[in-house]
């Protein structure tokens, strides 16, 4: 049964990823990205990585994509207006990178492949998925983990300073103008 489920999720994942880049409407693209995240979570579940799978849904589909969707919807994004030169440059770059990718794929496919174990044997006892992730994060990977959280904190403080700074500057300017006898 598991191979069938895997094929189902994989087809859904590839199809929705393709729709993300092929669809014209930015909101629809974002929704297909949510579908792609959910099918990826399904594949994680099949690999017995329950914690990673559901955190994938909570963090990406539940939080980050909502914010993306928010921006796309309320900015009312249309098609990018761009000059012919930009478009030509981008097209050239696209062909170049596509050719590179095709060459890589050809190299990979040409190599010899032997059927091996589909998935590695379960590393952790099946019940201790969350515990295993936690133990790894707080012992072996403690330093990178803490560095990442510091980085995020700094980014958050920076964003607040920038956003508030602009508003506060505007307010100050308005107050100064008002103090000097009013704006025209």
């Amino acid at each position: 049964m598991i191979p069938f489920l895997f094929i189902g999720f994989a087809v859904l994942l590839v199809a929705s990823s393709l729709m993300v880049i092929l669809h014209r409407n930015p909101v629809t693209s974002a929704l297909f990205l949510v579908l792609a995240f959910c099918s990826l979570a399904g594949i994680y579940l099949l690999l017995h990585a329950e914690f990673v799978g559901l955190v994938q849904v909570i963090v990406y589909a539940g939080a980050i994509m909502v914010l993306f969707l928010f921006v796309i919807m309320y900015m009312n994004l249309q098609k990018d207006e761009e000059s012919g030169l930009q478009s030509a440059l981008r097209r050239a770059l696209g062909w170049l990178l596509g050719a590179l990718l095709a060459a890589e794929a050809w190299m990979l496919v040409r190599g010899r492949w032997a059927p091996g174990p589909v998935a590695p044997q379960t590393l952790a006892p099946p019940a201790g998925n969350t515990q295993q992730v936690g133990l790894a994060l707080y012992s072996r990977y403690l330093f990178p983990f803490e560095i990442t959280s510091m980085l995020l904190l700094v980014a958050m403080v920076g964003v607040i300073v920038i956003a508030r700074g602009r508003a506060a500057a505007a307010r100050d300017a308005a107050a100064r103008d008002g103090g000097e006898g009013g704006t025209p």
Partner: protein, 332 residues
């Protein structure tokens, strides 16, 4: 055929499907009578009688309501984004239904016990934002858009406090599986050890289900009907259904996490699920009672309360619980 019946995979799928069908049927019935209960209780709170014309005591009123919804004219605005307009009501019901798959109703009545059951509930409640946001945006109506906008901001803000308030329970139970959490409460309900977390969870539950006093996405006085202004007929019914399903789902999770699930005295093992339903009934009554008692918050008060009161309180609760468990651990 005999081989198929003996196959354990097939047996598992069969029993899971049977339980799903039972739960779905039960939930649809419960939802329609929850709406009846809400109208009846609201009537008595406001010194009225409530529905009493259709059938004895008005008991057939839900059936009449549903029939009416089905026969209403279906209306789609001209400039609406048709596909998303159709998908949004479906997304309103789906997450609540998925949540029921991990709720342990009785000792032997749970569709599936996965070891990250609580995360599944949090994931589904975070997906609930989509239905309202998409409904508001795709209707191409400014009131609906403002309703959707408010709802996404509100649900994202209160989700954090809700997630943090459950961490105290996780620390006590040492597991994310809802079945293990219920087993850990055999001697004492977690609400005794985690009263603050329970209060935070219930408040955020009101916000997550968009019920009064947090029903800003559909504040009638300012937004007509909020995100479902343009919806009619059974599509409107789906939003209604989704709201009540979410209320039942979130109350079931509250019963499981804080009120001991099916644990209770006197009843023999096979009837323990009655305790679950009794506790669920009390919480549902509480939801309705609050709705008809408290006025709606203002939008800035709502945001202020979520970010500056509930979130720090939930964080402090996590730290205190951790410290307490450490202290108990070093003493014994």
């Amino acid at each position: 055929m005999a081989a198929l019946i003996a196959n354990p995979d097939a047996q598992f799928v069969f029993w899971a499907l049977l339980k799903i069908v039972v739960i779905l049927g039960a939930m649809l019935g419960v939802v329609s009578y929850l709406i009846y209960a809400e109208r009846k209780i609201a009537g008595h709170i406001q010194a009225r009688v409530g529905p009493n014309r259709v059938g004895p005591l008005g008991l057939l009123q839900p059936i009449a309501d549903v029939l009416k919804l089905f026969f209403k004219e279906e209306f789609i605005p001209d400039d609406a984004n048709k596909v998303i307009f159709h998908i949004a009501p479906i997304l309103a019901v789906l997450p609540a239904l998925v949540t029921f798959s991990v709720v342990p109703i009785g000792p032997n009545f749970i569709v599936t016990d996965i070891n990250v059951g609580l995360l599944l509930f949090l994931a589904m409640s975070s997906l609930g934002v989509y239905s309202i946001t998409l409904a508001g945006w795709s209707s191409n109506n400014k009131y609906a858009l403002i309703g959707g906008l408010r709802s996404s901001a509100q649900m994202i803000s209160y989700e954090l406090a809700m997630g943090l308030s459950t961490i105290g329970v996780l620390l006590l139970a040492g597991s994310l599986s809802l079945l293990d959490i219920v087993h850990a409460q055999e001697r004492m309900w977690f609400v005794v050890y985690q009263p603050v977390a329970f209060v935070i969870f219930m408040i955020t539950a009101f916000a997550e289900t968009n019920r009064a006093p947090f029903d800003l996405p559909e504040a009638e006085a300012e937004l007509v009907a909020g995100f479902h202004t343009e919806y009619s007929s059974m599509k409107f019914g789906m939003f209604f259904l989704g709201e009540f399903m979410n209320v039942i789902a979130i109350c079931s999770i509250a019963v499981t996490l804080f009120l001991g699930g099916w644990n209770g005295p006197w009843l023999p093992e096979p009837l323990k699920f009655l305790w679950f339903f009794a506790k669920l009934g009390v919480l549902l009554f509480f939801f309705i009672w609050v709705r008809w008692t408290y006025p709606r918050l203002r939008y800035d008060q709502l945001m202020h309360f979520g970010w500056k009161v509930l979130l720090p309180l939930a964080l402090a609760n996590v730290v205190l619980t951790g410290a307490g468990l450490y202290w108990v651990g070093t003493r014994s």
